[in-house]
């Protein structure tokens, strides 16, 4: 845990401790705040963290980069699951929160959109459609 010092404010100590953490379990994670603290620490992506049974809150659009896994996650609610997905128009991305080497286990995403490569978007769409079909099946069974 990073402690505040005479030259470090409580807010900065909190931010540094947040960036240093690698495991988040059963808590609400506010993505805009987590991202800003990473940017303040000179890190352009959120890397190497495990989120277990967390609520991941936006509003935010995340870029799914290398090494990200989503296990048993609810990616969000939309009549059309594709409304959660964004296709980049250029080779770079602006305004999004980059995630790399992160593991999400049984997490629920709220007000979060997703972007990435065409292959990643296809995978996410498949996940969203199958989760929706499963949910509809659960309700009718």
């Amino acid at each position: 845990m990073t402690e505040p010092t005479a030259t470090m404010s409580t807010d900065e100590a909190f931010g540094r401790a947040l960036v240093a953490r690698t495991d988040f379990t059963r808590e609400a994670v506010w993505l805009p705040s987590l991202s800003v603290h990473h940017l303040n620490a000179g890190k352009t992506t959120i890397d190497g963290k495990t989120f277990t049974e967390c609520v991941i809150e936006g509003p935010a659009v995340v870029a799914i980069l290398a090494g990200v896994t989503l296990e048993g996650c609810n990616l969000g609610v939309a009549t059309n699951p594709r409304s959660l997905l964004y296709k980049p128009m250029g080779e770079k991305l602006a305004g999004v929160i980059g995630l790399s080497n992160c593991r999400f286990v049984n997490c629920r995403f709220v007000q979060v959109g997703f972007t990435g490569t065409d292959e990643m978007l296809e995978q996410l769409e498949t996940m969203l459609v199958s989760a929706r079909s499963q949910s509809a099946g659960d309700q009718t069974s």
């Binding site: 805009p32 935010a60 009549t79």
Partner: protein, 135 residues
């Protein structure tokens, strides 16, 4: 060819009240503006005139109806304005911060992406690429 917008050169001036309709010559994050609206029970940013402001991400702005940009620097595009644009694959734009009937005048965006309908995206794509002033 249109001239590049004049850079904002005043010192940092962090916004203290983002609930007002006329926001002028202050600096704020897009999320803080949205949070101020949410505190008032609103689900989108509507009816604001934002002038001479530096606006920080990371965030994606959904420019809905009636959003105008005049003399605005959309941010460092890395040489290709398309790098600032995201296209929603569906009929809505989950995760983006929605704006309606807002005017941005002489503002600078930092780390903000933009999305909207096809006509808006085409307008942004047609813009001349500009660079932010060196900090």
């Amino acid at each position: 060819m249109a001239d590049a917008p004049a850079p904002i050169t005043r010192p940092l001036n962090v916004a203290k009240d983002l609930s007002v309709s006329d926001i002028r010559d202050v600096d704020f994050s897009l999320f803080d503006l949205f949070a101020a609206e949410m505190m008032l029970g609103r689900s989108l940013v509507q009816g604001k005139t934002i002038t001479g402001c530096r606006i920080q991400g990371p965030a994606v702005m959904l420019a809905s109806t009636g959003v105008t940009f005049d003399g605005v620097n959309f941010g460092d595009s890395g040489g290709d304005i398309r790098n600032l644009i995201l296209k929603s694959e569906g009929t809505k734009a989950i995760g983006a911060i929605p704006f309606r009937d807002c005017a941005f005048v002489n503002c600078e965006f930092y780390g903000v992406g933009f999305t909207g309908d096809a006509a808006f995206l085409e307008q942004v794509r047609a813009l001349q690429t500009t660079s932010l002033p060196e900090s």
